[in-house]
Symmetry: C3
Subunit: 353 residues, 3 copies
Amino acid sequence: MTTTSTRLGELVDRFGGHLIGSPDIMLAGIAPLSDADERHITFLSNAKLRAQAAATRAAALILTAADHAQIAADYAGACIVTPHPYVYFARAAQYFASLKAIPALAGIHPSAWVSPHAIVAASASIGAHVSIEAEAVIGENVVIGAGVAIGRGVGIADHTQVHANVSIYDYCSIGRRCIVHSGAVIGADGFGFANERGNWIKIPQTGRVLIGDDVEIGANTSIDRGALTDTVIEEGVKLDNQIQIGHNCHIGAHTAMAGCVGVAGSARIGKYCTFGGAAMVLGHLTIADHVHISSGSMVSRSILEAGQYTGFYPLAKNADWEKTAAIVRNLSGMREKIRQLEKTIKTLTEKSS
Amino acid sequence: MTTTSTRLGELVDRFGGHLIGSPDIMLAGIAPLSDADERHITFLSNAKLRAQAAATRAAALILTAADHAQIAADYAGACIVTPHPYVYFARAAQYFASLKAIPALAGIHPSAWVSPHAIVAASASIGAHVSIEAEAVIGENVVIGAGVAIGRGVGIADHTQVHANVSIYDYCSIGRRCIVHSGAVIGADGFGFANERGNWIKIPQTGRVLIGDDVEIGANTSIDRGALTDTVIEEGVKLDNQIQIGHNCHIGAHTAMAGCVGVAGSARIGKYCTFGGAAMVLGHLTIADHVHISSGSMVSRSILEAGQYTGFYPLAKNADWEKTAAIVRNLSGMREKIRQLEKTIKTLTEKSS
Amino acid sequence: MTTTSTRLGELVDRFGGHLIGSPDIMLAGIAPLSDADERHITFLSNAKLRAQAAATRAAALILTAADHAQIAADYAGACIVTPHPYVYFARAAQYFASLKAIPALAGIHPSAWVSPHAIVAASASIGAHVSIEAEAVIGENVVIGAGVAIGRGVGIADHTQVHANVSIYDYCSIGRRCIVHSGAVIGADGFGFANERGNWIKIPQTGRVLIGDDVEIGANTSIDRGALTDTVIEEGVKLDNQIQIGHNCHIGAHTAMAGCVGVAGSARIGKYCTFGGAAMVLGHLTIADHVHISSGSMVSRSILEAGQYTGFYPLAKNADWEKTAAIVRNLSGMREKIRQLEKTIKTLTEKSS
């Protein structure tokens, strides 16, 4: 059994920050304030939890200078002072996780099938029952999980991890350091048909999906290939589970989408946007950079100005909803009633003056 | 060809109820009132269908004493009288289905790959192209379908059935008598990132998914592993298809969710709740026991009181919706207009008095 | 490298239309107006783009006689005149795609597992790590991608293509010329339970899924088997990605559903309907032929009249939504206020007259 204990000073050497206390304090891991004990380092990223932080039993605390000043009277333990404790937490947690990780074995599992016309780096790890078609190129240190199907001419760049049972269609490409979760489907046909007297005539989908570096794609998420041109996911995009990205979409760098989001075809979404869960975007729209869409909202027109946008029906007790929904259905009747009142009042006012 | 005929008395011996008529009536199966003929037993679980039940050609009828009293004048056939005909139907249907079921063969399919460091019960059935990593433990009478990928240290308890192409990540565990449908993904990384000047820094997801006994998980449903602690699905929970459960959620026993539901991270949902299709729950909320959320409703705040809650925009003809939606967009204008009217009327009233 | 150049006259020979210009013009492919150059044929299917079409550098243009008359003064290049340019584009694009397609090899991949009691046509192509259970029947020219799991007694008719990692449960059947995309699950259990004092008692799902000819099923879409009878998808239906079809649904011919649609159990949907993305249909409803549901709309009652129906909350800047949502929550208060105003005005009017 390997020990995963780490000196507090090791974190500061790796990730910076101002150390208060002994660098020789030993840490078994990182834990949230609610769970941390004397084996852990913990973090304060929410000023509301200052009192809880001051009382922590943890071996050390990551926090801002401002929070440190506030709790210094009550907390005499070790600290790492940094402007961004939550980012520091993420980095420290990555480090502790890396100590416990069991590295994937380089090489091709005997049950995998790899075309003799594919190129697989010697450092790549290809799991059980994987299939890799001709002309695919698998980069250094790539890890492919069990049952993944990789089509003809697919490119997967260095250090990318593809989890079990992912399907990647012909000629799609995935950048470096990406993570693709199980059940994701990359490059299925876009939904494109011409209608001829009620019958749907398929428009062949001959574009690709091009995915940049540092993209994460959630479980059971689908990204369709383009019709004549490509679907593009720029670097740093993070997609949660159960997301649908239609053909020819273009998603700008560092945009993040929570679970169950749907984006219809040919939408062009800016950089640094966020989409709450189950938000939906209609096709052929343009969304500017730095737009934030709330959960459950339907985006039915282009948004050219940064900001937060929302559109979902507020929840209520069912009986109350029944009442308000009936009024919503007849809002134009209510508007008409108000107009009538206005007229009557105008008449009354004229009479009385 | 095996015969699957069953004596009516056999059902009463197994599942109770008061038999009226001969126990020797032979039944080929169970069918709904609309389809049943003289080979079937059928059931009346909806008082509106009494007349249809009284006229049934079925060999026997499952119903309540109250319904029996109502139709006794018109129906002289065999009956099983029970307080819960629909539950009796479920049990009888399970019994008839078991007669026709082809049992899975115990043993490991020659095309499967099982780590020498995994433990697989001799009575388990492991399908084609399955992979099972080290330290996994597969219990008695477990059935694993083709192409399932089972990660390191996974536990699957006795009598659980996992259908084809499911993916289960490292260290997750599944209870007894569960059913996991194809395409489900259990234990993918939760969606957790710290934001550093626009870039997303991954927070490693080191918790597990823990699933209790008697849970059913639908096709293409995803349940994420926890970040630092675990995601928990208690016993008897039923999840339909295409559901997303975020990291660190806790779902109470016997709660049921219909298709396309999404639950964001760290939501804590009570026992005996129901969620209609495509209902959505935001993160970090608490939902009490016995809460029922209607289909298509967005839960954006905690619900601490049992009851039925709803929030979706009522459907209308598109032209009518265009009108009411325009008014909704300007409801604050309408409210202002009403305030103006109130003032004017107040002035008029004062004048006239 | 094979050349894929085609004479313009070849298209007219295959797909009709009235040719203006030389049949010997050589075409490398088809491209949209925005991208086409002298190697391409392009098409005009939107009258707003007439000016762009008249200025195209493309080798030839597909358009209507009316559009041709409008731009003839400005455009002297080759044309194919047809009543339906978009349909013509679809057919021409299919033709060009077929020239570049690499045909699947007939035969069974050595890593596939096929039951000796299954029947596979000699012209079918069975990919790596496929499994096919007993009594399954795979037709002529069927192509099965890597990792597909085909259950007992499944039928897949001629010329159908099933992409990687699809799961098809026992006894389901798929028609001719269908396309099933990766991650789709056909025939998982419907969500059927009887409730006994809070516990869910499973109702066995013993029906099948029956899919007609020329159906396309998107990535990660799920279609549940029926409970006692079958789930039916008629010919020509097109389902996009991430769709959920509940048990015992019946979807009429040539209906199309965009991504993320959900249809609850026993819904009966007509022919030639369309459903926008993320539309939801409750269970046991009837939808007539030629009904069109807008994206994001919840269908909570049967629709017996053809037409377009909509129901989603309009998007707004978050601050505006906060205001209008608060009013929506209290619409019955607003209605009461209007009633009070009406009374007061009535009194005033009576006084003043």
